[in-house]
């Protein structure tokens, strides 16, 4: 299978560990990701806040790029994913004119739903060589990948299970908790540190209460917020994994301890205690 790949700015910057693990995980499943040539930023919250025109037009460049490749699009960053869907929806309704030719019919995928489809899930189960036995985690989806359900098509938008399915397929235990889609604060910390810390610390605290040893995410900003906020609390610290990192850990022949060095909360002691790293 082959998909067009839109990494987004974060995945080549602060979340390059997510970018690397996405590419590695897809490669392990024999899925080719073809990066869209000359892709540009989706505009993110900034365009969304200041100019509705830019919200719609900025992502169009990348959708057009994927259509040119003739492939369905995978966007691992939930913010980009949401913006791409929104832009395509507005173009499809003929409310704006895209500067680049668009059909408005391109299927856009988030990687969790793509990989938790029965076919891929079966493949994942078959290829696990290092089951993550005994690892108890909670999955955290955040907002943009799931909501608004009208746009994303998430049927279980109050209790999504796509990442849980992947985690279970890898042999880890995915705990049930109530904060799967509660916002982590996104970029509000830039102006209001109090709100950002309040939201992110509550999430970490709840994960601890539910008995989790780590939180699994699929969003660069969620990862950064949850990872960086724990140093101020003095509580036990939870490593924050991308779900693709766990996939690589379970399916790669040579696990790379080097990979996890990019995290702020060091996950290596936890992985050693489960004897997942050699």
């Amino acid at each position: 299978m082959e998909y067009a790949y839109y990494p987004g700015c974060s995945l080549e910057g602060t979340a390059n560990d997510y970018g690397r693990s996405v590419l590695a995980a897809f490669k392990l499943l024999d899925i080719t990701l073809k990066e869209i040539p000359n892709w540009t930023c989706c505009g993110s919250t900034a365009a969304h806040s200041l100019s509705h025109v830019k919200t719609v037009l900025l992502p169009c460049k990348n959708i057009a790029g994927a259509e040119e490749l003739g492939l369905e699009l995978v966007s691992p960053c939930p913010m980009c994913y949401n913006r791409l869907l929104y832009a395509q929806d507005q173009i499809k309704k003929r409310l704006y004119d895209s500067p680049w030719p668009l059909s408005g019919e391109l299927p856009i995928h988030d990687p969790t739903r793509l990989l938790s489809a029965p076919d891929y899930l079966k493949q994942i189960k078959e290829r696990v060589i290092r089951p993550l036995k005994g690892l108890r985690v909670v999955s955290y989806y955040g907002c943009q990948m799931v909501r608004p359900p009208k746009l994303t098509g998430f049927k279980e938008f109050q209790n999504p299970t796509t990442m849980d399915k992947i985690i279970e397929a890898l042999g880890a235990t995915s705990l049930d908790w109530s904060y799967k889609t509660t916002c982590c604060g996104a970029s509000i910390k830039i102006g209001r540190k109090d709100i950002g810390n309040f939201l992110a610390q509550r999430l970490v605290q709840k994960a601890l209460d539910f008995g989790a040893e780590a939180i699994v995410v699929s969003c660069p900003l969620c990862q950064f917020n949850l990872d960086s906020v724990q140093f101020e609390t003095g509580n036990k610290m939870l490593p924050i994994f991308y779900f693709t990192e766990l996939m690589v850990l379970a399916m790669e022949e040579q696990p790379m301890p080097k990979h996890f060095k990019t995290h702020l909360v060091d996950p290596i002691p936890l992985l050693h205690s489960k004897s997942l790293l050699t």
Binding site: C41, S49, L50, H52, K61, C143, T262, L264
Partner: protein, 192 residues
């Protein structure tokens, strides 16, 4: 209708604002019956001066300036919890963000100035390279005199520099921005 007929005046004022917003973003505001599910699901409602369900009522009554001046429109995370939980598909988050767009294009001073400056710097960086480099973005934000002064005063700048150093030593921040060759095409979009 007499001048003193307050009720009807307000409704008339509201009607115009209502049709403007409904036309702009294609949401249905009239069907709100103030069940407050939006406010109850909002993770930051406690930090807002006008709660989400009140925003909708303000729109119905035509109180445009009050909403434009509020903290609410900048504190909103557009996490879409309100929209997803509304039983009548009012599109609360869309209304709030629409007001944020209007406020950004008005003379009203934002109650969360730092956030607005951040968004503007973000789009400026986007126009420079076509992609965002986090280091350049944060540097250009901190170069803003207002922000620099505040961060120096609270010594926050030092913890930020420390974090930047940590991220850089982990290979997560890069000095050189990556430029997209398509940036010229982006600059042709004339909107701000």
């Amino acid at each position: 209708m007499s001048e003193t007929d307050g009720f009807r005046e307000i409704t008339k004022k509201g009607n115009k604002l209502l049709s403007k917003i409904q036309g702009d973003i294609g949401v249905n505001i009239n069907s709100c019956y103030q069940c407050e599910r939006c406010t109850n699901s909002c993770p930051v409602a406690e930090f807002m001066d006008i709660k989400p369900h009140q925003v909708i009522r303000y729109v119905q009554l035509g109180y445009r300036e009050e909403v434009l001046n509020s903290r609410t429109i900048w504190v909103c995370l557009s996490c879409e919890m309100c929209t997803a939980h509304c039983p009548n598909e009012v599109g609360v988050a869309e209304v709030i963000i629409c007001f944020r767009n209007w406020a950004a294009q008005s003379h009203f001073e934002s109650s969360e100035g730092e956030l607005e400056i951040f968004y503007r710097k973000f789009l400026k960086e986007l126009n420079k390279f076509g992609r965002i480099n986090e280091m350049w973005l944060m540097a250009s934000l901190n170069m803003d005199p207002k922000i620099l002064f505040k961060k120096l005063q609270s010594a926050e700048i030092f913890s930020e520099l420390k974090l930047a150093y940590t991220l850089m030593s982990k290979g997560r921040l890069h000095f050189l921005p990556k430029k997209s060759n398509a940036v010229k095409e982006l600059r042709k979009i004339k909107a701000e």
